[in-house]
Amino acid sequence: MTVTQFVIASAVLFSIGVYGVLVRRSAVMVLMSVELILNSVNINLVAFGALHDNIAGEVFALFVITVAAAEVGVGLALVLLIFRNRKNINIHEVDLMKG
């Protein structure tokens, strides 16, 4: 096994996640795509940790999971709030920041 194959796998997953973030209309779906991206990062972390025989990679992957969990929690709460106020969760319509 080479580290390259893991990195490539992670790159693919990352790109798919990016695609999802960019095209999905539903906020929930965007959050799911973000999960894909985070997972791709985790793969990288663990792979490099294995390569350098360093435990830090794994530990940080753990932290990423923790943060991801928190992010999903808060993110879904926000989505819920948006839904309650606007009756849909289409992020394309949330453009109050328009300059």
């Binding site: 390259t4 779906m29 894909l36 794994e58 969760i89």
Partner: protein, 171 residues
């Protein structure tokens, strides 16, 4: 080694296909389920890399908790259980281009930099090692993470909670 490579190939294949389905399917619930598959294969990859604690954590937290959370989210936001037409918008081309280029660039970079770097034969790390490291060297980040979780917990409640007068209105 061959066995591992075969396992890797199978898992990455499943992961890739499921991931594509996650971002393309028109059914929200299906998307969540495909996501579960992706997460499971990632957990497999972790095991393949010898990170057993992480793999288990991945299963427990992601599949056990996060997916459930998503499903709750889907239900509470009144998404249709079934096919939906407008789950994605139409400007897919630029996004696709960006994604492709990212893939290309990353793959190029990976091959260019780590082309022949073999992973060590023995990459297994025990839960004990992880725990030792986590509770000595990384104790402060660990505590910070716990505070973060607490903050996220409270924050989510505060954000999502209905104000009392809103409840009155609904009654």
């Amino acid at each position: 080694m061959v066995a591992q490579n075969i396992a890797f190939g199978v898992m990455v294949g499943i992961m890739g296909l499921s991931a594509i389905r996650v971002v393309t399917t028109r059914n929200v619930v299906h998307a969540a389920l495909y996501l579960m598959v992706v997460l499971a294969t990632v957990a497999g990859l972790f095991l393949l890399l010898g990170a057993e604690f992480l793999g288990i954590t991945q299963v427990l937290i992601y599949i056990g908790a996060v997916i459930v959370l998503f499903l709750f989210g889907i239900m509470l936001t009144g998404a249709r259980i079934g096919k939906e037409k407008l789950l994605s918008h139409r400007n897919k081309v630029p996004a696709l281009m960006i994604a492709t280029v990212i893939t290309a660039v990353s793959i190029y970079a990976a091959i260019d930099y780590f082309g022949a770097d073999k992973l060590p034969e023995e990459t297994r790390t025990s839960t004990k090692e992880v725990a030792n490291s986590l509770f000595s060297q990384y104790i402060i980040p660990f505590e910070v993470a716990s505070v973060l979780l607490l903050a996220a917990l409270i924050g989510a409640i505060v954000i999502a909670r209905r104000e009392p007068h809103e409840e009155n209105l609904t009654k």
